[in-house]
Amino acid sequence: MIEVRNLTKQYGSKTAVKNISFSVNEGEILGFLGPNGAGKSTTMNMLTGYISSTSGIAKINGIDILEDPISAKKCIGYLPEKPPVYGDMTVKEYLNFVYKLKKSKLPRESHLAEICELVKITDVKNRLIRNLSKGYQQRVGFAQALVGNPGVLILDEPTVGLDPKQIIEIRTLIKRLGKHHTVILSSHILPEVQAVCDRIVVISSGSIVANDTTDALARNLSSDHKLVVRSEGNPEEIKKLLSGIQGMERVHINREAEPGVYEFFLEAKQGADIRRDVSKKLSSRNYPILLMKSNELTLEEIFLKLTTGDNYGGLEKYEKALDSKEKESGK
């Protein structure tokens, strides 16, 4: 179990982490999501006792990391941003060293062999770490976090530098570990967090902007009541027509998608389903519907929305960005 209350970290005058609170239960995987420089690594460094907090409390299995660091650290496996491996040791020597450092009581040979199998580094066991590729070093770093089978795993961007196959394997491994461990993993890759985590905390410039289950986050922020429609005809007339629909709040002519075909953004009251009305209205005047899709946000858009503080028209922005890109490449 991890409990964080009003945690703040200040570097001189710069506040890297502002007063954040959350908790992670046993058997839960928490995704820590945020853009570069949001304060993810800083938070993790505070949780693991590498740096101290300016104020606030971090408890691991009920033990305050600053009051009784040794007992708290015994429960933690930490994979920092840069894997803390020694280039001048072989993988085997390194894991033996970590085993002793963590004062693990598990049977050494079998425990380490098992870990090597889990992260697939058995074949490089006798090679010097500095001669391993980045991805393998990352795996050795992951193996290090698993030594001693700690109840709490704190993983800072665990899949960085891995190949796609290994990414899937590590995700599956994390999911499996998550059943009996408390896991926090940070990432800026949304599909990853979506695939692995039960709950997501979104952090942006040091503050938490969302903390919810993965599904709820997608549901709450997505907008079933927002539609994108393309139709052929006089845009102003269509706009007028659609504006008359019960519950419609806003109709916006976005652009001319094809010659004579216009794209509209429709926004109705929260919870209203306007698809049928739109269809009926348009066909009553013989305006063909060439496209209708609900403006459901992907996690990427939710993410952008939360972290840029823009709560309106995330998709419009997104599409505009795409448009300008198309134009550029068209040149």
């Binding site: 006792g49 101290s52 650290k73 803390p84 020694y86 450092l101 004062k103």
Partner: protein
């Protein structure tokens, strides 16, 4: 603590540093033995020990430069500082690894003693006393070097910094002579590393000297722990 010590020793001997250090140490002691003892046809090794004073002050920083600086640079300190090891134990582990190398270096003086005893009568108490003296000086230099190494990420800076610090130790004497009052002169003189060390070389084995070196070494180890602690709070 012993895990950390063992790791450091391993890395001394996977890189050539450990071998080279020991070889150069043996070389210098051999040169001194040849110049001061063998050519003068005496079994008195006191000049050899005096020479080793300067060799150790200059060479030990090379041994200690990477102890913490390299951890800081490679971010492997994240592993050490987030594992269930207390800071004093961590620092002790580092200290003992370099100290163990010094112990290996000291073996050569036992060999010299045995060789000399074949040709002349040798005072073993003086030889052993000197080995203790050199180890005490070594302990001081290692802890001072470890302290400087903790302050930086750059091995070169760590080496230059601790050589500078050690030269300052040597210069303590010169300050004594320019002090205006007798009292100040005596205070500074009592801090003189060289004169205290020199007492070992001429066969004086005083507790106050042992206590002096041991406590200065302890102060530097303590400061190292404080620096590591302080860094977390910055």
């Amino acid at each position: 603590m012993f895990a950390i010590m063992k790791r450091e020793l391993l890395s001394y001997f996977t890189s050539p540093l450990g071998y080279v250090f020991i070889a150069v140490f043996y070389l210098f002691s051999g040169i001194f033995l040849f110049l001061f003892t063998l050519t003068s046809q005496s079994a008195d090794m006191s000049y050899v020990y005096t020479g080793m004073f300067f060799v150790m002050l200059i060479m030990i920083p090379i041994l200690t430069m990477r102890l913490m600086a390299e951890e800081n640079k490679q971010k492997t300190d994240q592993l050490l500082l987030t594992s269930p090891v207390s800071l004093p134990r961590l620092v002790m582990g580092k200290f003992l690894s370099a100290f163990a190398i010094l112990l290996i270096c000291m073996l050569i003086f036992l060999v010299y003693g045995i060789v000399l005893s074949c040709f002349a009568s040798v005072n073993w108490a003086v030889i052993l006393g000197n080995i203790v003296g050199m180890l005490l000086l070594g302990a001081l230099c290692v802890s001072a070097g470890l302290f400087v190494s903790t302050l930086t990420e750059n091995q070169m800076i760590a080496a230059v910094g601790s050589i500078g610090l050690n030269i300052a130790f040597i210069l303590v004497d010169s300050f004594a002579s320019v002090m205006p009052t007798k009292f100040l002169q005596e205070v500074i003189y009592s801090l003189s590393f060289f004169s205290r060390y020199n007492e070992f070389t001429i066969g004086i084995f005083s507790l106050s000297n042992i206590f002096f070196f041991a406590s200065v070494a302890f102060i530097f180890l303590f400061l190292t722990v404080r620096v590591l602690e302080k860094r977390r709070w910055s």
